[in-house]
């Protein structure tokens, strides 16, 4: 496996683990508590990513990206763009018609403005995850 593959796999694990915990507990917090929890979550993700990638760089020498790496990165980014667009549309719906997403688990019970913010957070995380999963698939299956 290339350095990029391992790095991407680590990012997927960190994102799913940390943000999975966040969204499982966000509904139990008031608006102010939500902001605090989100801040701690982002900080935890940054610390974990830096630590894990530093350890990876020590154990596995990073290769200079070649044309295949650049092509896979570009295709992953393109796939993530579609998720971003879908999420942005959902955020618009949430702002203009908050009752539409009222039944959605985790965020449906939050105040509309907090729920809209979380739709955007979900969008960013979803897009990143879709990019990472696409990259892993292209490395394994071919591009």
């Amino acid at each position: 496996m290339t350095f990029k593959e391992i790095s991407t796999g680590l990012s997927v694990v960190v994102l799913i683990g940390v943000y999975g915990y966040y969204f499982a507990h966000v509904g139990a917090h008031e608006a102010g508590g939500t902001i605090g929890l989100l801040s701690k979550t982002v900080l935890l993700v940054v610390v974990l990513e830096v630590a894990l990638h530093a350890a990876l760089a020590i154990c596995h020498r990073p290769e200079r990206p070649d044309e295949r790496d650049r092509l896979i990165s570009a295709k992953g980014f393109r796939n993530a763009y579609f998720v971003m667009v879908a999420g942005a549309l959902c955020a618009i719906v949430q702002v203009l018609a908050p009752e539409v997403l009222r039944g959605v688990p985790f965020i449906g019970g939050l105040p509309p403005e907090i729920a809209a913010a979380h739709v955007l957070v979900l969008t960013l995380i979803g897009a990143t995850l879709f990019n990472d999963v696409s990259v892993l698939a292209y490395y394994r299956v071919g591009v």
């Binding site: 290339t2 290769e63 200079r64 070649d66 044309e67 295949r68 071919g142 591009v143």
Partner: protein, 73 residues
């Protein structure tokens, strides 16, 4: 696996040239060893520039290295 209509003889050519390793070939054409492996397995079609570099390493026409088969598998 994605169906490619381009096949190659890189693995055989490597063995015919003093059992060149994938890493050695990768260093000479400017890609990673994993990319050479992906090309050999048909998981990736290289750019024209890389294809010509591969042919130049083996001192053989590019048609000897890569074969295009018309029609999908």
């Amino acid at each position: 696996m994605k169906a490619h209509s381009i096949r190659n003889n890189i693995r055989r050519l490597r063995f015919d040239h003093s059992e060149m390793t994938q890493s050695e070939l990768a260093d000479r054409i400017g890609v990673t060893r994993q990319t050479v492996n992906a090309i050999e397995q048909g998981k990736y079609s290289p750019s024209l520039e890389v294809a010509f570099r591969i042919a130049a390493v083996f001192r053989t026409p590019i048609e000897t290295v890569f074969q295009y088969t018309s029609g999908k598998k």
